[in-house]
């Protein structure tokens, strides 16, 4: 029988991260699922010199980089989709504060696949022939770079293709719609690369919008793509992806997406953002207050909410969860 793994957000960051850690977040979708609140907590606890491994940039990486906490980053996409360029990350890259190593979105996913398999490399039929292969932010002096995505030979046909280095991040924070106290998790919406990341990472923290009873997992085992056996800790934090969306639970907070990104454009306004939206809350209740009742009401009126219907009866109350957290932190 696996043991409950519920701990507080603060405890998760305290236990599983340190300065300079290779930190991966998932889904790392620029608008959708991402363990954004864990990034806020990294800043609250003063973590820095991070090596960020994000499938794509999200408001989390944008914030962490904008706050100067990211020395190195690897990702496939560094924007915010319809919300434009990611000003915090952009500023960090342009000033040289963050070295950003470019890959494509598929590359990041299969590098995590390779890490999960514990393969030293993964075949690359994409990214070759472009400057993603020939330019390396981590080895800037090499041009054309041959060590970032070296060429290899298919032993069957003699054909040339590339090789990606696998990724095994030291710690991953993975946002999920629901987890049970043991660490079984259900994701609604695209997984992006969370399945692979949950196996590739050396330590896995789930950040869940809802905690459900394990009976829910037994009813829907095929939905449990992250089983407890690969999970180290579960953090309960409703609206964990805010201002991004969580399918079935809440939509993107359009206004905050814009104001946050605007704030991250300068050092000064970033400091104000940190003050207002990172260092400002002491509890989850404060956090919800910070988002605001009206906004929460608006974003929870999502067209996707029917996706949660089959699982609602297993949702645990905040009180039940608080008790389990107390046990988990003992």
């Amino acid at each position: 029988m696996p043991q409950p793994k519920l701990i507080s957000l603060a405890a998760a960051v305290d236990r599983f991260t340190q300065n300079g850690v290779q930190y991966a977040s998932g889904a790392a979708l620029p608008i959708g699922s991402d363990a954004i609140v864990l990034g806020r907590e990294l800043l609250r606890q003063g973590r820095n010199q991070l090596h960020a491994i994000f499938h794509c940039n999200s408001q989390q990486l944008n914030l962490l980089a904008g706050a100067g906490a990211v020395d190195k980053a690897e990702c496939g996409f560094s924007g915010l989709e319809v919300f434009g360029f990611a000003n915090g990350l952009r500023r960090a890259v342009e000033t040289g504060a963050t070295q950003l190593e470019d890959y494509s979105n598929l590359a990041m996913a299969i590098r995590l696949f390779g890490g999960a398999m514990n393969w030293p490399f993964v075949p690359a039929t994409v990214n070759i022939g472009s400057d993603i292969q020939y330019r390396s932010a981590f080895s800037p002096e090499e041009y054309p770079a041959t060590s970032k995505i070296p060429m290899i030979t298919d032993p069957f046909s003699g054909r040339q293709l590339g090789a990606f280095q696998s990724l095994q991040p030291e710690v991953a924070a993975i946002h999920v719609s629901m987890a049970d106290p043991l660490g079984n998790a259900i994701m609604l919406g695209t997984e992006w690369s969370r399945f692979e990341l949950s196996r590739a990472a050396k330590k896995v923290i789930l950040v869940a919008d809802e905690i459900v009873h394990t009976d829910c997992m037994r009813q829907f085992p095929n939905l449990v793509r992250i089983p407890d056996i690969v999970v180290d800790a579960v953090v309960y934090w409703p609206f964990a992806a805010w201002p991004q969306s969580s399918p079935g639970l809440y939509d993107v907070d359009e206004d905050h997406m814009r104001s946050m990104n605007k704030a991250l454009a300068t050092e000064e306004t970033t400091q104000q953002y940190l003050k207002d939206y990172v260092f400002s809350y002491q509890s989850h209740r404060d956090y919800l207050g910070m988002i605001g009742n009206e906004t929460r009401e608006k974003i929870t009126q999502t067209e996707t909410s029917f996706l949660m219907d089959p699982y609602r009866k297993w949702i645990l109350s905040a009180d039940e969860i608080a008790k389990l957290v107390l046990e988990g932190e003992r």
């Binding site: 959708g32 496939g76 924007g79 979105n105 022939g129 997984e191 969306s245 996707t304």
Partner: protein, 265 residues
């Protein structure tokens, strides 16, 4: 050419011209924004059996409530028949060569259809990599689409700074140095079949792979396009005018673009 009273915007013309390139039944991948509007316009108008997908593995969905904010945005997650993941969508279906067509955007495109979405540098990057003056979005899934999709449509606003003799950084490969240079990499995808802009349509010369002006719009002309292109743009012998959007096309497009993103100039 007469001054033309636009009853549609240049962006709408571009989206419709792009949508016309899509055929019924094709497996197609759209990025967020313009590319999605062009794709869903085609599905609404003339390609009802198009099989649309996103980079994140959203299948069978039709966006609700306006242009999705992103590829996992709830606006595209409300009525999907399947959600999988990036390895599946970009790997199994796109990089594998199974996807017939992809639509990508560009900050900068060159005469061989190579796309830069990574950054703007002051001059060449040089021997040592250095941070761009202006960091853009990176390759995202566009590189995977450019390598794997059967054909690629590039949508881009037609401005001189965006049309370079050679892009500073190749984020997504077109025909690289032209001719058969793309073939060295064994890409399963055929490369860009058209660059569709706010002023016209460019297509590659079959041998040199240099993009040439294939068609202009009722409201644009050859000279205007050449003067907005950063290389000496050749003109196809069969250059022609793109038919105006029909009433049905505009109706279909505006149904998809219900928030009017393309009507903003």
């Amino acid at each position: 050419m007469n001054s033309h009273k636009l009853e549609y915007t240049r962006q709408e013309m571009m989206a419709i011209a792009t949508g016309r390139e899509l055929r019924d039944g094709e497996l197609a991948i759209f990025g967020v924004g313009l590319s999605m509007l062009a794709g869903y316009f085609a599905q609404e108008h003339h390609a009802p059996n198009i099989r649309a997908m996103t980079e994140g593995g959203v299948y069978g969905a039709i966006p609700v409530g306006g242009l999705p904010w992103g590829i996992e945005c709830n606006r595209i997650s409300a009525n999907a028949t399947s959600f999988t993941n990036g390895v599946d969508a970009l790997g199994f279906l796109v990089a594998s060569g199974r996807c017939d067509v992809g639509i990508i955007g560009a900050a900068q495109v060159d005469k061989f259809g190579n796309v830069n979405t990574t950054g703007i540098w002051d001059g060449e990057i040089g021997e040592h990599y250095r941070a761009p003056k202006t960091r853009l979005t990176g390759a995202g899934g566009a590189n995977d689409i450019a390598c794997g999709a059967g054909r690629v449509l590039i949508m881009v606003a037609h401005e001189p700074k965006r049309f370079a003799e050679k892009v500073t950084y190749i984020s997504s490969p077109g025909y690289l140095d032209g001719g058969n240079t793309r073939e060295c990499y064994g890409f399963v995808g055929g490369g860009p079949s058209a660059i569709i802009t706010t002023l016209g349509i460019l297509r590659p010369n079959p041998d040199t792979k240099e993009f040439q002006l294939d068609a202009y719009y009722p409201f644009s002309n050859i000279e205007e396009i050449q003067s907005n292109t950063g290389w000496e743009l050749k003109v196809c012998p069969r250059v022609h005018v793109v038919p105006e959007p029909t009433v049905d096309e505009l109706k279909a497009l505006r149904k998809v673009d219900e928030t009017g993103a393309l009507r903003k100039q």
